[in-house]
Amino acid sequence: MISKDITIQVPASASLQPAAILVQVANQFNSSVRIEVEDKQVNAKSLMGMLSLTFYPGESIKVITQGEDETQAMERIEHYLTTAQKN
């Protein structure tokens, strides 16, 4: 299991697209991917789960991956979350 605090750069969770992309990224891996914001932890492979969280660019969220490809999963998710997206 890997757990990491990541400061996010993607646009606010209020827009649907970034959350949908993150869910797609998480679904490419067999490992379980969970995201924790304040006292709430959700499955990052679930769109509804991601949309029920509130976070803004510049805030830190905790990402937890667990499974055979946990390292790659963490890398890809960190890459997505920390690379500012245009449009």
């Binding site: 932890q41 509804m48 789960g49 029920s52």
Partner: protein
């Protein structure tokens, strides 16, 4: 797997004031930073009598007629001394019930120590129990589970399983069969007392289901108000799994398996998925069977009894 709550919770005093319409007597005290962490409420009778051992100063202090009348039997100096000790201890607030208007001293102390003082026309014991119930819900241990919660024949069925295994499809089919959706994908569960786990959807995703390939649908607008429910107590769990031929699945249902949610054991059926299995009818039957067991009839037990009787009737002298 154990589902545990992370952390303990607090509720803003302002929320309690609004909910119970408490009348503020200390206008100058700022309550923005005051939170309640305890669901219990203290009636400070013993403290008025001068006994301060094990004083629950972090609880809301509720002063009823008895306490206040008792205090009034003492002289001004005594009242001042006890009140100072109570306020100095760091109580979150003090509430006078039955419309009592406290001595100016309480207002003075409240302003001095930054402790708000309130008055309410409500009676002491009913306010105490209502407030206790409210705080228990607000401060209840909670956890968010990845799953679907559906009301089936009045039983809250929590369906869990890996992403993409068909939880939402099962929920949709159940809704089409006349059952009610509580939450899809994200279920917020609170343990409001020892026996009850209450599940609901986060406000943002309430009534929505995500169907892979179709997108988001709103069950309430699509199928009507009769197809949704805001919250439901969890009766049992169904865990959907890929069919694994090396795994033993329950054939009889004589023994029950449990999962622990917030420290409470919940009956859990593991159901193997194969193409063509009608999930909705399995969930429906499980719910009906759960009800029947609770009403005192256990089909597996009866089958067991019949088999035992059959054994007894066939005595060994036969060839």
């Amino acid at each position: 797997m154990k589902y545990v709550s992370n952390g303990h919770y607090k509720v803003k005093l302002q929320k309690i004031v609004d909910k119970f319409r408490l009348r503020c007597l200390t206008r100058d005290v700022n309550i923005d930073h005051i939170y309640i962490h305890q669901s219990d409420i203290n009636r400070p009778a013993l403290q008025f009598a001068g006994y301060f051992e094990q004083f629950d100063y972090n609880r809301i202090q509720l002063v009823g007629k008895v306490e206040y009348n008792y205090l009034k039997t003492h002289d001004e100096a005594y009242i001042r001394e006890m009140t100072t000790r109570i306020f100095k201890a760091g109580i979150p607030c003090m509430i006078f019930t039955r419309g009592q208007v406290p001595n100016d001293l309480f207002i003075e102390m409240g302003n001095e120590y930054g402790v708000p003082v309130y008055s309410t026309p409500d009676s002491t014991s009913s306010l105490l129990s209502e407030m206790n119930r409210f705080l228990k819900t607000e401060l209840a241990p909670r956890v968010t589970i990845h799953g679907v919660l559906v009301d089936v024949f009045g039983e809250g069925v929590l369906i869990t399983g890996e992403s993409g295994i068909g939880k939402s499809e099962a929920a949709l089919e159940l809704v089409k069969r006349g059952h009610r959706l509580v939450a899809d994908d994200v279920v917020e569960i609170r343990r409001t007392n020892d026996d009850v786990l209450v599940g609901r959807a986060p406000d943002v995703t309430r009534y929505f289901i995500e169907l892979r390939g179709i997108g988001i649908i709103n069950v309430k607008t699509l199928f009507g108000v009769q197809s949704v429910l805001d919250s439901q107590n969890i009766s049992f769990m169904i865990k959907l799994e890929e069919w694994n031929k090396d795994r033993e699945y329950d054939r009889l249902g004589l023994e029950e398996k449990f999962e622990e949610i917030l420290g409470k054991e919940v009956v859990c059926h593991s159901i193997p998925i194969r193409p063509g299995r009608n999930l909705a009818i399995i969930v429906e039957t499980a719910a009906a069977n759960f009800r029947q067991k609770r009403m005192g009839y256990n089909a597996a037990q009866e089958l067991y009894d019949r088999v035992s009787r059959q054994m007894e009737n066939r005595e060994p002298d036969e060839d």
